[in-house]
């Protein structure tokens, strides 16, 4: 009887999940409609001049213009490439240093307090340092992005491996798992759920830093200006173009939402359900 029950469980869960998705979509649509409605209302009240508070329709037109003259799309492209490069380098360096911290106890202890300190360090405060040391170029931006996220990856790697329940390691050890096999087949999968959380956080740090750095570090390369989204945003300010500012903000918001909700959340959900971690919380 018990066995029957356990077999039915996963099916039941899927049903409730898909029903929730429909309500979620309806809620989102309702919220968006209300938001645009209030915006329109504020616009019609005329508290601010139209140039400072454009209507939703005006911003929509600007989005269309920015897409057709490819300022927004190429901006997204440039920003995404920088983000990918910075994030991948951060994960690489962070993982290697994090593993070294696990391997060498003393180094781990010292480095983790140092890294925690740098974790709370505002990433934008790296900008002057990066400009003077590296200059107004892609590498300068990359440096700020890496500094913003690498410590998060480091700490996550270190703590997720150290917090693996010792019973897994003992059992694996007993079955003959040593060295690289232990690392590959036990430590990595055992640490995965918390690694995913940390990588998600690192991504968010990298994203914040990137837009900030792009606003402050204008890059000129081979005589061609390479605009990132942050740059498009600050150009909007330079030209008093509120419509462009809001359009870019919407783009930044949407990218963040897609990454966090769609990509990272999907991975996290899959990992959590496979590891059997979300038996009690389906409403994250």
């Amino acid at each position: 009887m018990l066995e029957k029950k356990t077999q039915q469980q996963p099916k039941k869960k899927q049903q409730t999940k898909s029903r929730f998705d429909v309500t979620d979509a309806a809620n989102t649509a309702l919220f968006l409609a209300a938001f645009v409605g209030i915006w329109q209302l504020v616009f019609m009240l005329g508290i601010w001049p139209k140039t400072l508070m454009p209507s939703p329709a005006q911003v929509a037109t600007t989005v269309a213009n920015l897409v057709s003259n490819s300022l927004l799309t190429s901006g997204i492209g440039v920003t995404m490439i920088r983000l990918a490069a910075g994030f991948v380098i951060s994960i690489g360096i962070g993982a290697v240093v994090g593993l070294a911290m696990v391997k060498f106890r003393g180094f781990g202890k010292t480095m983790s307090s140092f890294a925690v300190g740098l974790l709370t360090f505002p990433s934008i405060a790296w900008v002057p340092f990066a400009i003077l040391l590296i200059g107004f170029n892609d590498l300068g931006i990359l440096f700020v992005v890496i500094m913003a996220s690498v410590f998060s990856v480091m700490i996550t790697t270190y703590s997720s491996i150290r917090n693996i329940p010792p019973i897994y390691l003992r059992a694996a050890n007993n079955m003959g798992a040593k060295g690289f096999a232990l690392f590959r087949y036990v430590m990595i999968p055992a640490a995965t759920p918390s690694l995913i959380l940390g990588i998600r956080q690192a991504w968010s740090f990298a994203w914040h830093a990137l837009i900030g750095a792009e606003m402050l570090i204008t890059t000129v390369m081979y005589g061609v200006e390479r605009y990132g989204l942050g740059h498009v945003l600050s150009v909007g300010r330079d030209y008093n173009d509120m419509s462009q500012i809001i359009a870019t903000m919407i783009a930044i918001f949407t990218i963040g939402l897609i990454f966090d909700r769609v990509i990272f959340r999907k991975i996290e959900e899959r990992v959590r359900s496979r590891w059997g971690l979300d038996q009690h919380s389906d409403n994250a």
Partner: protein, 283 residues
């Protein structure tokens, strides 16, 4: 010397496991009252091939520590462990532990858990799948081959753990209170299951428990550990056929004897404790 002893004894019923004068002291590193707690004090045991030995004693008598030392997961302060006459100082798939918590890997399915050890030893995929499904079938888990461990009940988890251990084809199964967290009915079921497995595979089993009934029902031989001495209090062979009835007069008598001895031991320990505190107070 040990090797010759092994040969000598192997003439009649080969000796599988030898524990020689194993001692272990735990240091309490509290600054106010640093003290040493002797958990094991020169324990020696010989276990023959195919024996089902239960080690019984109250919590804190060092039975789990002894098991961990035999497994190589813990090292003794002095003394040594021999398997088939060969000295062992580290873990080895010839001695597989079944833990109380099961210690299954939650990221693997039932069948993947069972084949895990074989994967490590480099058995090719097809062969290890064949072997793993054999043991999954033996533990009546075929329907759950592709389930993840969180979908299983406590009893099923322990059955997976047993299948995983058997798949490694160890010389000795070391079981550390494997059924302590289960309800009575499930435990009864697993007891008869384990006896069938012992009958079929003739594996040497060392089974640690604090439950005297469990020890009496399962073992060919019961070793009673004393918490105050850190040593073997009694070593009893039981020739009664299995499955056994816990209410049979023979078992009831044995149970009473064991309980009485443990009670004496307990009082002795308490007396020692009070004198120790008095001494401390006097100082």
């Amino acid at each position: 010397m040990i090797a010759s002893e092994y040969k000598e004894k192997s003439a009649g019923g080969a000796v599988m496991l030898q524990v020689r004068a194993v001692s272990k002291v735990f240091e309490t590193n509290s600054q106010k009252a640093p003290s040493n707690h002797v958990v094991l004090n020169g324990v020696s045991i010989d276990i023959k091939d195919g024996e089902f030995v239960t080690i019984v004693g109250p919590s804190g008598c060092g039975k789990s520590t002894l098991l961990n030392i035999i497994a190589g997961l813990d090292s003794p302060d002095s003394g040594s462990v021999f398997v088939k006459g060969e000295r062992k100082t580290s873990t080895d798939p010839d001695r597989i532990v079944i833990f109380q918590e099961g210690a299954l890997f939650p990221w693997l399915t039932v069948i993947e858990n069972v084949e895990f050890g074989l994967k490590l030893t480099g058995v090719p995929k097809e062969k290890r799948m064949e072997s793993a499904s054999h043991f999954v079938h033996m533990m009546q888990l075929s329907r759950f081959s592709n389930s993840y461990t969180y979908q299983l009940s406590g009893g099923m988890k322990q059955r997976v753990a047993i299948a995983r251990a058997l798949a490694m084809n160890p010389d000795i199964l070391l079981m550390d209170e494997p059924f302590a967290a289960l309800d009575v009915q499930t435990r009864d079921m697993l007891h008869s299951h384990l006896l069938q497995i012992h009958e079929a595979t003739k594996k040497t089993i060392l089974f640690v428990t604090h439950n005297i009934n469990e020890a009496l029902l399962l073992g060919n031989r019961i070793i009673v550990l004393s918490p105050s001495l850190g040593n073997i209090k009694r070593d009893i062979s039981i020739d009664l056929p299995r499955p056994r009835d816990i209410d049979s007069p023979e078992l009831l008598l044995l149970k009473r004897q064991i309980l009485k001895e443990l009670e004496e031991d307990f009082q002795l320990a308490r007396k020692e404790n009070t004198t120790a505190t008095k001494e401390k107070a006097a100082n």
